[in-house]
């Protein structure tokens, strides 16, 4: 059985508990075709999906880990459980969620979220969505907010038109793995012209040990629409490793705008290997707000494929690498049409021996004249045990693009500390003020409660980091 190691960890990872929740469905360990068949049977999936999954598993087995991506060799893919579900079906009412699962979400404060002004709320535990609901006013306007599995059942044609079109299983090893074992995640459709002003929020929880969570999210923002999708994540603290390999595909149609906010706070035994990509059509706007605060290792570069004239892509990336963490985060912008613009703003903090990397690709194809891109990446290092690296890549075909790139690495400066202390502010408060000030340009883009949560988490990680 699992051992809880919560008390040997620094700081207080308050989400590190695990609950004894009896799985209704749990398969044998290892990535196998048998598991796929079992999942397809339980879920009652169409044949095309069964074939897609089997083909994806073959691709996963054939593909290699990228050489430029070290630190993943010790993942034992055979030791992982690929499907576990403690529920029979997703509930529409909070009371209908099984009591033991509700208790877990109560502890995480998700039940309270429900009281807030959200457009919709989803809650996934292990492989399945335990809860998924949307405000009536939104569903009346035709907004669809379902688990991805339900989306496939209720909107088979729409689903199939877009599914795996932005991220095919051939894309990378972890996209293939997700394609083989995907379960849960969200299916969102915003009809033409509908502005979904309140966020759709989803919380992902891993409870099982040595588990693989492979949620799959597909968001389609039709012409002139708007939506803000917000996700949070956490997991118990075990001594073993889990894998979270999500795939998120977004289609932002003409003049539509989509903002996707992530606050990732996995425990430090989760490998977080996520592929996120948006196709942005004419004058559409895609904004990724990506906060990585937890996990053992994060590999994630949200990307925008700017495929329509005047499309705009934006990535605001915030990474905090504490003890035992390596945040390999960044962004990818691909210019495929004229007059497109993009902005990448990345900030990272490394402390207690943590490591963070910015890895970015800006690619301007030759059929994409008059593009403009601005990249800023700033790293803050709190001590000399910690490390930060920057790997920016620019591939510009054609000559009309304006490219700006700025990067900086800094420490908490003695002068700033002295200045704040000279006003009576204690050293630890001064440090956290400086650090929170450093990330402020990104935090101010977050919904209020997330901003508060980020500041709380950063302050926890700050404890004892200077002096």
């Amino acid at each position: 059985m699992s051992t809880q190691t919560q008390d040997i960890l620094p700081g207080a990872y308050k989400e590190g508990f695990h609950d004894d929740i009896r799985p209704l469905h749990k398969v044998a360990k290892g990535a196998s075709h048998e598991v796929i068949d079992y999942m397809c049977d339980v879920k009652g999936e169409p044949d095309w999906m069964r074939q897609f999954r089997h083909r994806s598993l073959d691709l996963f087995r054939k593909s290699e880990l990228p050489e430029w991506l070290p630190g993943l060799r010790d993942i034992d893919f055979d030791a992982i459980t690929y499907y576990a579900s403690p529920i029979e079906k997703s509930a529409r009412k909070w009371e209908d969620v099984p009591e033991d699962i509700r208790r877990t979400y109560d502890k995480l404060g998700i039940a309270k979220e429900e009281q807030k002004l959200l457009g919709g709320l989803g809650a996934q535990i292990d492989s399945e969505m335990a809860y998924h609901n949307i405000q009536e006013s939104l569903s009346k306007q035709g907004v669809v907010f379902l688990s991805c599995d339900e989306g496939m059942k209720q909107y088979p044609d729409l689903f199939r038109e877009y599914f795996a079109k932005a991220i095919p299983p051939e894309d990378n090893k972890f996209a293939a793995l997700n394609s083989a074992f995907w379960s849960g995640g969200s299916f969102v459709y915003i009809p033409k012209g509908v502005k979904c002003d309140v966020p759709l929020s989803v919380y992902f929880r891993i409870n099982a040990e040595q588990f693989g969570q492979f949620e799959r999210t597909l968001i389609i923002c039709d012409d002139d629409s708007f939506c803000h999708y917000v996700e949070g994540c956490s997991a118990p603290v075990y001594t073993t490793h889990s894998v979270h390999a999500a795939v998120v595909e977004i289609f932002v149609k003409e003049r539509a705008r989509c903002r996707y906010t992530t606050i990732q706070n996995w425990s430090t035994d989760v490998y977080n290997l996520v592929t996120k990509r948006a196709f942005v059509y004419g004058k559409g706007i895609m904004e990724w707000v990506d906060g990585n605060l937890g996990s053992k290792r994060t590999v994630k570069y949200p990307s925008c494929y700017l495929v329509g004239d005047g499309a705009h892509g934006e990535v605001l990336s915030l990474a905090s690498a504490d003890k035992g963490m390596w945040q390999d985060a960044g962004a990818k912008m691909v210019f495929m049409a004229p007059n497109c613009t993009a902005r990448i703003n990345s900030k990272s903090i490394s402390g207690h021996g943590g490591r963070s990397s910015y890895r970015g690709l800006v690619q301007v194809r030759d059929n994409a004249p008059n593009g403009r891109v601005q990249v800023n990446c700033d790293a803050l290092i709190l001590d000399d045990k910690s490390r930060t690296d920057t790997y920016p890549t620019m591939e510009v075909d054609g000559d009309l693009a304006t490219v700006e790139h700025e990067a900086s690495v800094s420490n908490v400066s003695e002068e700033q500390l002295f200045y704040l202390q000279s006003r009576g502010i204690k050293k630890e408060d001064a440090v956290s003020m400086i650090v929170n000030g450093f990330i402020e340009p990104i935090v101010k883009e977050l919904p209020m409660e997330f901003a508060v949560e980020i500041n709380r988490l950063i302050n926890l990680q700050m404890e004892g980091s200077v002096g």
Binding site: F418, S422, R423, G424, K426, A430, E440
Partner: protein
């Protein structure tokens, strides 16, 4: 004892290089002292050492705030005990909003969390005195401030924190005449029986607007001359040369 700030035979080094070589000075509440001296005489070193900058090592002597030695205290504790330093080059702290910073600082000074209304009531009045726009509070601490704005911000902080002893390190440098007048107005307003001020300056100019009770002249790490307000005028006329030629034994104020 409770109304004095006393520096006794203070010796300070930066990276083993001695800068201050035995400074003696007593500032009482209600008094305004001016410390003048040529470049490189150790004026800013004195200011930073008083506030406890970690780069400045006190190698000898004593600093007593209301009779209590502060040498073992970090800067924040000194500040909470009523000491203030207006910086020559106030540093920029990106992302930290003026209002948040000031409220935290004021709360630290009074030892309890200030109510929002209580804080803003006080702040508004002080800002009016210094001709500071209310948008100021939404800006990040000193980031992108002009030289004059930074200096006014220092005076605003001084007004908000209500120190018992304040050191002003070349607050006049880099100010145009209008800004200098505003800053001086602020200082004159603060002046009173509950505050002792030490103004450190290179130029006599600011002393036309703030009349000090005492003037000291620092040369090569030592106070070589002390006197009344007329000393400033003499300096203006003759420069520092006559002092370095005619060094008298280091004097104390009273």
């Amino acid at each position: 004892m409770t109304d004095t700030f006393e520096i006794k035979n203070l010796q300070v080094a930066i990276e083993d290089k001695p800068i201050l070589k035995g400074v003696n000075l007593v500032v009482r509440k209600g008094e305004v002292h001016a410390l003048m001296g040529p470049n490189g005489s150790g004026k800013s070193t004195l200011a930073n050492a008083i506030m406890g900058h970690p780069k400045y090592t006190v190698t000898g002597g004593e600093i007593l705030l209301k009779g209590e030695s502060i040498l073992d205290m970090e800067a924040d504790e000194r500040a909470r005990k009523g000491l203030f330093l207006a910086f020559q080059y106030p540093c920029e702290v990106p992302g930290v909003r003026m209002a948040n910073f000031l409220r935290l600082a004021c709360s630290a000074r009074v030892g309890r969390e200030l109510e929002v209304m209580e804080f803003y009531d006080k702040l508004e009045k002080k800002m009016q005195h210094l001709d500071i726009d209310e948008k100021f509070m939404k800006r990040y601490l000193n980031e992108g401030f002009s030289g004059g704005e930074k200096k006014r911000n220092e005076i605003l902080q001084m007004m908000m924190l209500e120190p018992e002893f304040a050191v002003m390190d070349e607050t006049d440098s880099g100010l145009d005449i209008d800004a200098l007048k505003i800053v001086s107005r602020g200082v004159n307003e603060l002046r009173g029986p509950d505050l002792g001020i030490l103004i450190i300056t290179h130029y006599e100019r600011i002393l036309r607007y703030i009349n000090p009770d005492f003037i000291h002249i620092l040369v090569d790490g030592k106070i070589v001359k002390s006197g009344g307000p007329d000393l400033a005028a003499h300096l203006e006329e003759h420069g520092y040369d006559w002092i370095t030629k005619d060094v008298e034994p280091a004097g104390k104020a009273k």
